[in-house]
């Protein structure tokens, strides 16, 4: 039996399950907020075109609008200045095989519960590897924090007068994952791949800076990472094919064996 034939057989039999890693796109879901004088990404908005009424008698449909970085979304290397001149750096030019990869799920949920500003370090990753094995090349490295379970937008954004407090990787951890582990991309449950206070790290926003500078990808606002095993899942994360797009909302899914 071919690999794909056995794959579809196991999918039908239920041995392979599909996990949805996506938050629902809705106007209430928090969006990235920049200082008010800067340009702003559109939040998700939806307007009814018709609903079996005089505007369209037999059909229901909507127009929606949002920025490229809305809801559960993909960051392409061209998003950041460090990745602006790389080849194949945008949503339309990234080779499609890059959207699929094995997942290493780093469970930092206890740490994030204790400290909203938790930073993932190289030591933390090495200690994870001692338990679960070395992160394979071209893997999606997903930082599980259970942040997606914060259904209250205020708790999810977690702002105070010094800005946002959400977990993320430190600069050395990002460099380590790129240079020593050759990852495909980095994913988080919070609103950015970088920590909420990452503008104060060196360099500012290290995950964006190093990850995209090395042609790697970002996933954020992921959900259901608690349903993934530490290793063994396959993540499919394909953005919309926007010409020279810097990112895109997407339906991220994972395949797991039961």
């Amino acid at each position: 039996m071919s690999a794909l034939a056995s794959f579809t057989k196991e999918l039908l039999s239920g041995k392979i399950r599909v996990i949805d890693l996506t938050q629902t796109l809705s106007p209430e879901f928090p969006h990235i907020s920049l200082p008010p004088e800067m340009g702003q990404a559109w939040p998700f908005r939806i307007e009814e075109v018709s609903r079996y009424d005089e505007r369209g008698p037999a059909w229901y449909w909507n127009n929606f609008s949002c920025g490229e970085h809305t809801g559960t979304h993909f960051d392409a290397p061209v998003h950041w200045i460090s990745g602006k001149d790389l080849p194949q750096n945008a949503t339309d030019s990234i080779p499609p095989e890059r959207f699929v990869g094995p997942a290493s799920v780093l469970n930092c949920s206890d740490e994030a519960k204790k400290d909203a500003d938790f930073l993932l370090t190289v030591d933390w990753i090495k200690s994870w590897e001692r338990k679960h094995g070395r992160i394979p090349p071209k893997a999606w490295v997903l930082m599980r924090t259970d942040w997606s379970k914060r259904s209250d937008p205020a708790a999810y954004q977690n702002y105070d007068e010094t800005g946002q407090h959400t977990p993320g990787p430190d600069a050395d951890a990002v460099k380590f994952l790129v240079e020593e582990r050759d990852l495909l991309g980095f994913g988080t449950e919070s609103i950015g791949t970088d920590a909420g206070q990452a503008q104060h790290l060196r360099p500012p926003y290290p995950c964006h800076y190093f990850m995209h500078g090395a042609g790697r990808y970002g996933l954020q606002c992921l959900a259901n990472l608690d349903q993934l095993p530490p290793t063994g899942a396959v993540v499919i994360a394909a953005p919309l094919k926007i010409r020279n797009g810097s990112g895109s909302p997407l339906r991220a899914i994972a395949l797991v064996e039961t």
């Binding site: 106007p27 209430e28 908005r45 999810y156």
Partner: protein, 407 residues
């Protein structure tokens, strides 16, 4: 105030007689600004009433609308116990009087309950009635006349006392001042919208402590949010204050692209459209719902709606669009007797006007001007010196103002 009996049918709105000649609309134009003007002859100086095309004394056609003092002597008063007019029929008994103005004419006026029987010194002024047309009212000759509790005068005002109010944005400094001013004016209940609930704003705790206040998530760029809030509280809102705005300080050349201008338009223009579509129908249905009926819709516009202020050019354009839509809203709300009050402030003393030199309007002063406009039945409010000066310059010569603002 006594609560409404929910088993009785809510009365449909009716309007007092609304027909006016074009010349008579001069009285309305002045009353909309809170002014009492009558025509005065440019040749012989005779003050005219009712409005006319030629002087009643010398037949000169050079007659002009001029502010007039309201001092008057009440000659006679009467109480109407019968009327075939639907509006007055439902409001009987109704007290009227004949008053001789110190400036000349003798007029018929609706009387405040505090006016003594004739002969008495009274103050006559013009007020907009529920049909949006000017009528004359006679007030007691003293300061601080209580309009809120007067049964007849309440028909001409939109007093927040005993009423339920929605303020669409409680996050801005003006929004917070408005909520406090409305609470102090005796509003029963104030819903206060706040967008992006994860951004705690200064003054949040203070607002929450006011017993009248209920904070509600409201983002006027989100149609569903507006629709759902209207479904929850729309049938209770007596006064809606549309004060959510985005104000950025760019012309055309100082900001690349359309995103900032679009954000201004989405809140300042489309936000008003969304609110009007969702809250308008329920308010129209409650135009005659007892003493606490739906009465007013307040729009925070800008003096820049009259003429573009190029340093804040895209903001000006969004406010001009909102003003045009507000005129449409006014036409649609008028059959229900719900007054649309447009507010045209000059620069407010807030973060977005940081670089403008004073005079700037303090948020608390603007809030109190809005409450006064509601009480006094003003329809177009130009609060503060800057707005008043711009208004006069614009009325005098719009082209000159355009040139002055662009230099």
């Amino acid at each position: 105030m006594k609560k409404k009996n929910p088993i009785l049918r809510t009365r449909l709105p009716t309007l007092p007689p609304a027909a006016r000649s074009r010349v008579a609309l001069g009285l309305t134009a002045a009353a909309a600004l809170g002014r009492f003007e009558l025509q005065q002859c440019g040749d012989c100086g005779t003050v005219q009433y009712p409005p006319r095309e030629a002087c009643q004394n010398c037949l000169s056609t050079k007659i002009f609308w001029k502010p007039q003092p309201g001092e008057a002597e009440l000659l006679a008063s009467t109480v109407l116990h019968h009327s075939n007019d639907l509006f007055f029929r439902e409001r009987l008994p109704w007290r009227l009087g004949l008053a001789r103005l110190a400036c000349g004419p003798t007029v018929v006026a609706h009387l405040h309950a505090g006016v003594q029987n004739a002969p008495a010194r009274i103050r006559v002024t013009a007020r907009l009635d529920r049909a949006g047309q000017a009528v004359l009212v006679g007030l007691p000759d003293k300061e601080n006349v209580n309009m809120a509790e007067d049964r007849q005068l309440r028909e001409f005002s939109c007093d927040p006392k005993h009423r339920k109010v929605l303020v669409t944005d409680g996050k801005s400094s003006l929004g917070q001042a408005l909520v406090k001013a409305l609470a102090a004016a005796g509003a029963d209940l104030i819903w206060v919208g706040h967008a992006e609930p994860w951004k705690r704003f200064p003054g949040f705790d203070e607002l929450q402590k006011l017993p009248q206040v209920t904070l509600v998530p409201l983002d006027v760029t989100d149609s569903r949010n507006v629709r759902e809030l209207a479904a929850e509280v729309g049938a209770k809102v007596d006064i809606l204050v549309s004060n959510a705005e985005i104000h950025r300080t760019h012309g055309i050349a100082s900001r690349q692209g359309v995103e900032t201008a679009r954000a201004e338009m989405d809140v300042n223009y489309f936000g008003l459209l969304r609110l009007a579509q969702e809250f308008g129908p329920a308010m129209r249905a409650r135009g005659a719902d007892g003493l606490a009926s739906a009465v007013a819709w307040v729009n925070l516009l800008s003096i820049y709606a009259l003429a573009n202020f190029p340093p804040h050019g895209t903001f000006s354009a969004s406010k001009a669009a909102a003003q045009s839509l507000a005129q449409c809203l006014r036409a649609e709300m008028r059959p229900a007797g719900v007054r649309v009050v447009n507010v045209f402030p000059g620069p407010i003393d807030d973060e977005w006007n940081q670089l403008l030199a004073p005079p700037k309007l303090a948020p608390a002063a603007l809030a109190s001007a809005i409450v006064s406009a509601l009480r006094e039945g003003v329809e177009d409010l130009y609060p503060g010196d800057v707005a008043q000066e711009w208004l006069e310059r614009w009325r005098d010569n719009p082209k000159a103002l355009e040139r002055e603002l662009s230099s």
